[in-house]
């Protein structure tokens, strides 16, 4: 068998296993409209996805993943609950010299189920664990929902909370904002100068004085943000004990059962995370019921917080040193709301890279 055939055979094996687990096999176009992906991921996706041009359909992208087309197809005409499986190429630009493949097979499994989200999380994780057993992979889990709940529960302004939530997937930016809101980092010089200037007059007057008005951003929008900046400057920092809990949460890495005990311990001080911690507990129970040893399962509260992701709850990866993740997945409820034009369904899923599995088995170099 050629390497490609061997990898495809590996992929077919996973696809059949997903079908046996109750999934309906689905296909997706390789050419995807760029607009939807750009709206979801922003300009950063251009650095990762191949963009091309169609004379009739406009800007298109070579499928960077299956999740978006599968969610769209489900939202358009899927019955509930539903399980889908797919196998096909995805295309990602790689950094020069990284040696990583820019075209590779992905085989995936997605569950759309309203009834018992934690059971669905456990179902997907346990299925992947079973299919990948014997490869000596290191599973890592996380839960972005806990972090988001903690931010929502902070005793600060809605404006600051939404700024933090907007950057949950950009850890460096998130950290910089949190440092500033918690008073741990000084207000940048540029901001101080700006605040000083804003004191010189009403926003309307300052805009008037700035000369010819150009651009689509209206004087009202500019004035509103100027006023909000002044108001924000008078907002007290997030209280030290509360901020400390959030920093602690960001760096929490422990076996899952231990992490749960730790989170239970801080819930009295950060009551807003209670529902998310209850969901975490329910998930661990569901995982235990599937035979997963949660006393050793790795949990990292910041796992899955990388750009170009959309997970907002449970996340997991199966890792091998020196390789990209062999498998990864998670819960993406918010994505279904964005793509569903108002409709919404809890969703969880994951992908495996058959090429990496074939390499681990020695089937290909």
């Amino acid at each position: 068998m050629t390497p490609k055939a061997a990898i495809r055979a590996e992929g077919e094996r996973f696809l059949q296993a997903f079908v046996a687990a109750g999934a309906v096999p689905v296909e997706a176009d390789i050419l995807q409209p760029a607009g939807t992906l750009l709206d979801l991921y922003g300009e950063d996706i251009r650095a990762r996805a191949y963009v091309t041009d169609d004379p009739v359909r406009g800007e298109m992208m070579l499928r960077p993943d299956f999740t978006v087309p599968v969610v769209q197809a489900h939202m358009a005409h899927g019955a509930e609950p539903a399980r889908y499986a797919y196998l096909g190429e995805v295309f990602r630009k790689q950094a020069r010299g990284s040696g990583r493949a820019s075209e590779y097979l992905q085989v995936g499994y997605e569950v759309f189920d309203r009834a018992a989200p934690e059971a669905a999380d456990a179902e997907v994780f346990a299925l992947f664990r079973d299919l990948l057993s014997g490869l000596d992979l290191r599973p890592v889990t996380g839960d972005i929902g806990i972090l988001m709940a903690a931010v929502r529960g902070l005793d600060t302004t809605e404006r600051r909370k939404s700024a933090l939530l907007r950057h949950v997937w950009r850890p460096a930016r998130f950290r910089a904002l949190l440092d500033r809101f918690a008073g741990r980092a000084p207000v940048p010089a540029g901001r101080l100068a700006l605040l000083e200037r804003l004191k010189a007059g009403s926003p309307a007057q300052l805009i008037e004085d700035a000369g010819t008005f150009v651009g689509l951003r209206s004087p009202e929008e500019i004035a509103a943000r100027a006023e909000a900046l002044v108001a924000d400057a008078g907002t007290p920092p997030i209280k030290a004990p509360e901020a400390a809990l959030l920093y602690d949460l960001l760096s929490l890495e422990a076996p899952a059962a231990h992490a749960l005990a730790h989170l239970r311990g801080i819930t009295s001080m950060l009551p807003a995370i209670a529902p998310a911690v209850d969901r975490f507990a329910a998930r661990l129970e569901a995982l235990s019921a599937k035979g997963v040893d949660v006393t050793t399962l790795a949990f990292e509260a910041s796992h899955g917080r990388t750009a170009l992701e959309y997970y907002d709850g449970f996340v997991f990866s199966f890792l091998k040193d020196g390789m990209p993740p062999v498998a990864s997945g998670g819960r993406y409820d918010a994505l279904t709301a964005v793509l569903g034009a108002g409709a919404f369904i809890p969703a969880v899923g994951g992908v495996i890279r058959p090429g990496l599995v074939a390499r681990l088995k020695g089937a290909v170099a």
């Binding site: 922003g42 300009e43 010299g97 950009r170 100068a193 008005f213 951003r217």
Partner: protein
């Protein structure tokens, strides 16, 4: 024979000839004013190739020239370290790639403000804040490194400063040396909006075929110019 790409006209060509001339490598154009050919006097094994400065990165990447003089903005936008090595900064052709916003945006002073303004703009207008530029890669990498969201790049190959007034962009990223065109178009540079400080650089191609004779010729040239003997 080492082929060295040099800008074919204007100030950049003259500055380039002056830089080499000051180091005893005399370049000049031959034939009529309109003919793009040149010679190097008093030095064997090196031939100048007169090219548009904008085409020099492509020729370096393709390995059709061994060396080339052009702006670091153009090379960093188009090429990576696998394709070219920097031999020497030449100290002329300075210009900055910067981010600028309308001067009436009294609430925007830094990239951080731009990010926040982009969030509000997207909510109010239903599309991402547009930044006009021809330097897509440099601008995207800069904004990505700073964690800016909710923007989109729109291509502008010229008269970029006019795009805001014309309603095709909300902000711009462009090359400026004095900032006068920006001011005339009612734009202001963000205080931390310097994306790339560009200047003329002598580059070596990693993809060109460097025969033994070429390497020997380069060693002689490098000694005369006072630049790295083995840039790659």
């Amino acid at each position: 024979m080492i082929r060295i790409g040099v800008p074919s006209k204007g100030r950049l060509m003259q500055d380039c000839f002056d830089w080499f001339g000051a180091r005893g490598v005399v370049m000049r154009r031959t034939g009529s004013d309109r003919e793009y050919s040149g010679v190097i006097e008093g030095f064997e094994g090196v031939a100048p190739v007169l090219l548009s400065a904008g085409e020099i990165p492509r020729e370096l990447a393709a390995g059709r020239i061994h060396l080339g003089v052009t702006g670091s903005d153009l090379v960093r936008e188009q090429l990576g370290d696998e394709e070219v090595a920097e031999v020497a900064k030449l100290g002329f052709g300075q210009a900055d790639l910067i981010l600028a916003v309308p001067n009436v945006w009294i609430d925007v002073e830094t990239v951080d403000d731009l990010d926040a303004a982009a969030a509000g703009f997207r909510k109010a207008h239903g599309h991402r804040l547009r930044i006009a530029t021809k330097y897509h890669r440099l601008v995207r990498e800069f904004l990505q490194a700073q964690g800016v969201a909710d923007y989109q790049l729109v291509d502008s190959q010229g008269a970029t400063e006019g795009t805001v007034k014309n309603g095709t962009a909300e902000a711009i990223a462009d090359i400026t040396s004095s900032g006068e065109t920006l001011r005339a178009n009612h734009l202001r540079i963000l205080s931390d909006g310097l994306i790339h400080s560009s200047e003329a650089v002598l580059w070596a191609s990693r993809t060109a075929e460097w025969a033994a004779a070429d390497r020997a010729a380069y060693a002689g040239l490098a000694a005369k110019l006072g630049v790295a003997a083995r840039p790659f």
